[in-house]
Amino acid sequence: MAILTILGVIILTFFLVRVVPSDPARQWAGSKANPEQLALARQELGLDKPIIVQFKIYFTNMLKGDLGYSHTSHRPVSEELKNRFPATLELVLVASLTALLLGIPVGLMAAKFKNGWLDHLSRLTSIAAISVPTFWVALILQLVFFMFLKLLPYGGQLDTEIKLFQQLPHVTGFLLVDSIITGNFPILLNLLKHMIMPVVCVGAYTFGLVSRMTRSAMLEILSEDYIKASRSYGLGELFVLFRYGLKNSLGPTITAATLALGYAFMNTFMVESIFNWPGIGKYVADSILALNYPAIMGVTLLATIFYILLNVIADLIIALDPRVKL
């Protein structure tokens, strides 16, 4: 089923980017190209062939891992995606982890003290976190921490001096992991300083979503008979809450976590462009604005596979619960 959906996505993106009148050959050859160069570019890109043949070529190449060449940089899209993926994954994972660690306890407490001031406060903060425009938070953070307090850098992943004059650790390709395992603390510190603002922006939505979902899942469970029974046995409230409550709300929480990853990923489109973070998100925004369609299709494919995979993983984890029948 998932494979059929991915196939649908491929077909849809392929035809979506081709029904629109834009001239990829001109993009490829440059704006000053003469007619012969344009014709050559058209031939090189296979644009002179019928659209069905084009699709067949694209599809067979894709199965071999070849996503075509970026129209702006003339480099393979798959290579560009591979180089940029670690930076985004690091951002998304750190942001979602922070959001989960904050969101689950907040949701738990809100459910415990339903309709108390704590519940109202958490409702307001969670919904505010969902409602706030990411690009506006970014702007305010930059104003406060960069311009007025001069505490944090404006953007980027590392200071320019470090990037130019220091040997960057390269083991796994993940800068955060690499700087930890090679024990390069100046770089680690610099990287973390650059990460704070993007992480807040990417994680805010996720935090709001997770705490709301944990709250409603817990409310449902706290009204169950077995919770009432354990309370009437005189079991400690914290024990009931964590041992029986949280354990049984694991299903919805995992659903929330996978959703969280998906939303965090989506938020990187905006956040990475604002903070100049060298990841997939910035690549998406740049390619879309330039109508660079091999890049757009590559990213869309990657994003949807990531999305679908998350859902499959969530289903599998939930299926570990013996009460669930698939």
């Binding site: 996505v9 979506l16 425009p133 690009f135 994003a303």
Partner: protein, 283 residues
């Protein structure tokens, strides 16, 4: 009775009720904005270089921008643009998504399979990404951004309605209607649809917040409204060039986006809480 009870419950929650009042206030601003704006000439044109980048004051409540235009007037007018464009998007998405959901749920079988597979494909795109791609290929303008959001949003309605229809169509009244030979079209639109209205309305009102946010995001990325339109996201986008000189330029439009989306989401959350019987049981 049900409606009155819902309103009573909504009133009881002060946060939800204040959100409702704020939305009413925004609606009034949106309707009256051309008359409320202190400098109507600044909405689309009006260049006044002598007054550029003035900080907020009693003359210009939210300060002025790079052309010396009053940001307060432009933000006020932006309310009308955002609310109106988002309402159109949500309505279009309903007109596309609801009939398809009705058909899929009612007929079942191959038709259902076909429609829902297409829905699945659309739902497996991150909505913002899909809207961005469509808006970029249609060419950046407010109208195209509205269309792009419609295309990204309709499948959610289709899925919701289909679920409702599947459970309603086996009810006694539908079966009796079918037994006396009522046509499928009449059954779908006269008997089933009215029974799905309340979840549709709840969903649509909860969507508005997200749609307003997405629209502003598209404009911020340069894929929506174009200058000199006083659209909130676009204003923040332009303000980034001048952010060292004028903090107020991007701050106030963003504050309006935030408060608007916040009140729609608070209202939606409040309505869901009131209508969800599971949560009430716990009291």
């Amino acid at each position: 009775m049900r409606v009155r009870d819902t309103i009573y419950q909504l009133k009881k929650n002060r946060l939800t009720f204040s959100a409702l009042i704020f939305i009413g206030f925004l609606a009034i601003i949106a309707i009256l904005s051309p008359f409320l704006a202190p400098y109507p000439a600044h909405l689309y044109g009006g260049v006044n270089p002598a007054h550029k980048f003035l900080p907020p004051s009693s003359e210009y409540f939210f300060g002025t921008d790079e052309a010396g235009r009053d940001i307060f007037s432009r933000v006020i007018y932006g309310t009308r643009i955002s609310l109106f464009a988002s309402l159109i998007s949500v309505t279009f998405a309903l007109f596309l998504g609801v009939p398809l959901g009705l058909i899929a749920g009612y007929y079942g079988g191959v038709v259902d399979e076909l429609i829902m597979r297409v829905v699945d494909i659309f739902l497996s795109f991150p909505p913002l990404l899909l809207a961005m791609i469509i808006a970029a290929y249609l060419g950046p303008s407010l109208r195209n951004a509205v269309l792009a959001i419609t295309v990204a949003w309709w499948p959610w309605h289709t899925r919701l309605i289909r679920g409702q229809v599947v459970s309603i169509k086996e009810k006694e009244f539908v079966r009796s209607a079918r037994a006396i030979g009522t046509s499928s079209r009449v059954i779908m639109f006269k008997h089933i649809l009215p029974n799905c209205i309340s979840p549709i309305m709840v969903q649509a009102s909860m969507d508005l917040g997200g749609v307003i946010l997405t629209l502003a995001s598209l404009s911020f990325l340069g894929l929506g409204a174009q200058a000199p339109m006083p659209e909130w996201g676009l204003m923040i986008n332009i303000s980034r060039t001048y952010f060292m000189q004028a903090w107020w330029y991007g701050f106030f439009p963003g504050l309006f986006i935030f408060l608007t989306v916040l009140s729609f989401n608070l209202l939606g959350d409040g309505i869901r809480e009131v209508l969800d019987p599971k949560i009430h049981k716990g009291k």
